[in-house]
Symmetry: C2
Subunit: 328 residues, 2 copies
């Protein structure tokens, strides 16, 4: 490794500054109160991984289409819109440690603001006037919704296959990483093979990223992740660490009934839930899940030798490291 994680961001800083400007411009609305809330949401401390991935892909093949900045902002705005709806669905009060829109607006207003951000993200994606970019963008949105619908309909069931889990996190997270990489490579003038290679890298990076998110949800304190520890579990959403933990329990282990009760929403006592989370932390389940993430990262890393631009290759390498070593 010849650059630190920080360097990836420094290298991309001029592009990212333009993305920020575009984001703030796009998330405007006539109502001053809503406007200031929108501004707070789009500037709310996201890591901008999706725009970074898109812009790296757009710079991987020598030429650079200026409109990639707009699409990068569009991808981040799509992500933001999706978080706004998620937080509304989960009735979450906190996101990245900040109060969500739910704390200040009616559910109806929050739904509409999410829709408005979807619309604005699509307007940004239309800027390059590239029909294929629009198809990727719209398809990605459908995949995100599909993943979220799966998560909602499959909640409260402990007995799930790894395929169910993967289909869910592909939609929830990896689809947008994949779409960002594909749109970037397309705008950057990659060949079809190069575009597909970066799309696959994006998918694997996104899968790894979500698996680690699911580990952090259980491993880190509420203060670190800015929402209650074990939030997924409390919502009845079963993730790979929980699946591995349950698989490692003896058939007659008392924890089996407890975890089934928590997932089903029948056990909500904080002391019981916290104690089970401690048990998961003490088991090997988090390490097993981290190995799943590392396998995805290894698959993605094997694709780097097809990336011609050495600075981009090195930056993508860093981004892959970051997916697995991060704590937030």
């Amino acid at each position: 490794m010849d650059v630190s994680t920080q360097d990836v961001f420094e290298m991309m800083q001029p592009d990212l500054d333009r993305v920020e400007e575009t984001l703030v411009e796009s998330a405007q609305i006539d109502y001053p109160i809503v406007n200031s809330m929108l501004r707070a949401i789009v500037s709310g401390g996201g890591k901008r991984l999706r725009p970074i991935l898109l812009l790296l892909a757009a710079r991987a093949f020598g030429s650079f289409n200026e409109r990639a900045i707009d699409v990068a902002a569009g991808v981040e705005l799509l992500h933001t819109a999706s978080l706004v709806h998620d937080d509304s669905i989960d009735k979450a009060a906190l996101r990245r440690g900040n109060p969500t829109l739910n704390t200040e607006l009616s559910t109806g207003a929050v739904i509409l603001i999410g829709d408005y951000l979807f619309a604005k993200s699509a307007i940004l994606a239309a800027k390059p006037e590239n029909p294929r970019v629009m198809v990727i963008f719209a398809t990605t949105l459908a995949e995100i919704c599909d993943g979220q619908i799966r998560e909602t309909l499959e909640a409260h069931k402990l007995d799930q296959s790894m395929e169910d889990y993967e289909a869910r996190i592909y939609g929830k997270t990896a689809a947008l990483f994949a779409g960002a990489a594909e749109m970037g490579a397309l705008l950057g003038g990659g060949t079809e093979e190069q575009i597909q290679n970066l799309r696959a890298l994006g998918t694997e990076l996104g899968m790894a990223f979500q698996v680690i998110d699911d580990v952090l949800d259980l491993r880190e304190s509420s203060a670190t992740i800015g929402k209650p520890a074990g939030n997924d579990l409390r919502q009845g959403v079963v993730t790979v660490p929980v699946m591995r933990y349950a698989a490692g329990l003896a058939v007659d282990a008392p924890q089996r009934g407890i975890i089934e009760g928590i997932v089903a929403g029948e056990i909500t006592d904080q002391v019981v839930v916290d104690s089970l989370i401690d048990d998961i932390r003490d088991s090997g389940a988090l390490a097993e899940a981290e190995q799943v993430a590392r396998d995805y990262v290894a698959a993605a890393r094997a694709r780097l030798d097809q990336v011609p631009n050495p600075a981009v290759r090195s930056a993508l390498d860093q981004l892959l490291d970051q997916a697995t070593i991060r704590t937030v």
Copy 2:
């Protein structure tokens, strides 16, 4: 008039059958239960005015782009997605006399299904691979959201200007009629002047349509409109008949306090609300509002002489009649 209202639909029937097929194909999802609900929603008895307008515009200039069928289905699906979110926001139990998704699914699932339909509608709009169609489509979605946000934020206030009302119904309804006409004319190969002329006709038709909707909401029985009579008023949404009624009251009329109380959500007693609705019906307010709609229709009709295809011209003429004479 040389064709009956029915004839417009008969002429368009082969196109509309293809729109229906495309709609049913698009609103598919892996989950059988949700799938059957989606099918019921997209086949739920809508009048298909937006696809009809788009297809008429697409046939107005001699050539016809087959992809207009996809965009027509996309426009209807966008409308459907927006109704799904509206019904969720209003917690409506009925739409067109049928139970809404709210009666069977959690709010979260309904929001996600609406999002999924938005995504699918965007995929359909991307089919012609025409960048300008995508820009119109995305901009229209933003305008619809803007209209809905206005309706939410401006609810519960009786004192509103006609401009506030017009901006709201433009977004809520006329924007999609305008966009449908513009996209159709664009795909049909109209000149820029012809495209803008049909867009303006679409706007005026949409404005008239919404004003009449607002009249029907007060004039018709719950059984006829498939939802509670005076639904807008009960939700605190002030429409032009209510504005005209309030403007006609003496300063010290007792109804003034009552209507303010209903709009503010402080008076919910059914007997009082029903009695006020009767009062509005007995006043000249509904007729005054109908005149507003007729003025829009007259403006739209003046644009017909710029439509070269005589069958399309005649069909549009019928559509304009229908906007003002309908009862549902």
